[in-house]
Symmetry: C2
Subunit: 140 residues, 2 copies
């Protein structure tokens, strides 16, 4: 049902790598090799992160990528949203017009609750938290 795609997982690993090399320009080739992720696939993920203002790039030889913000200011939610847009586990959670049942739809509230919970969790966790292994397993 609820699957995290490789795009999102790779994006996070890429960004953690950048966070671990804060201040340096990092070649995608290095990320690909060290993280063992397809270079060409990574290249496809990059534009989302650029467009969302999470990373900056420099072209040409000795180019590379660098975080646009401090790791503490990048939430997992931002990363996810940069790739997949608004978080909506069902369409009717995002757009109320989607389903004519939505007025008296019993399950709707369930999906809304679950959706908010996921969204909230992802928002409270930053790249820095991941980097420092600072994820508590207690439910907030």
């Amino acid at each position: 049902m609820i699957k995290i795609t490789t795009k999102i997982r790779y994006a996070i690993r890429l960004l953690i790598f950048l966070a671990q090399h804060e201040g340096e320009m990092v070649f995608l080739k290095d990320v690909s090799e060290k993280e063992n992720i397809s270079f060409k696939y990574l290249e496809q993920i990059i534009p989302y992160l650029k467009n969302s203002g999470l990373i900056l790039s420099k072209r040409g030889a000795r180019g590379g990528y660098i975080l646009a913000k401090k790791p503490s200011q990048i939430t997992i939610k931002e990363i996810v949203q940069s790739i997949e847009g608004p978080i909506a586990i069902v369409e009717c959670v995002a757009s109320s017009e989607y389903c004519n049942r939505s007025n008296n739809c019993v399950p709707n509230k369930l999906w809304k609750k679950l959706n908010e919970q996921i969204s909230d969790t992802l928002e409270t966790i930053t790249l820095e938290d991941l980097m420092l292994n600072r994820i508590s397993m207690e439910v907030s």
Copy 2:
């Protein structure tokens, strides 16, 4: 990324319908018509619910379906799991052998946390809660 499939949503609506007609044998045809869900698709969902012991059936004319347990004893988690098996937003959350990185995998903890949170939420909500519209939006 994170989508609730129609199978799950239809299953829940089907079960709510059964809950609303507790004690009676219900025809799938009625569910299909009242809930406006493809009859043939519903038929495909039924076996999962039967195998998990959520519903009972009676064949032949005047047959039908009925809940096998009280609505208060059926959790959403059970319903989801009956259709999709164990809840695992990434494979490495379920089986630790899946990925050789899992020892020192930074994001793993994040997925584990999110997975547990989703799992917990679905477990605390029963069919009865849905039926009585008893879903609080506060994060538990």
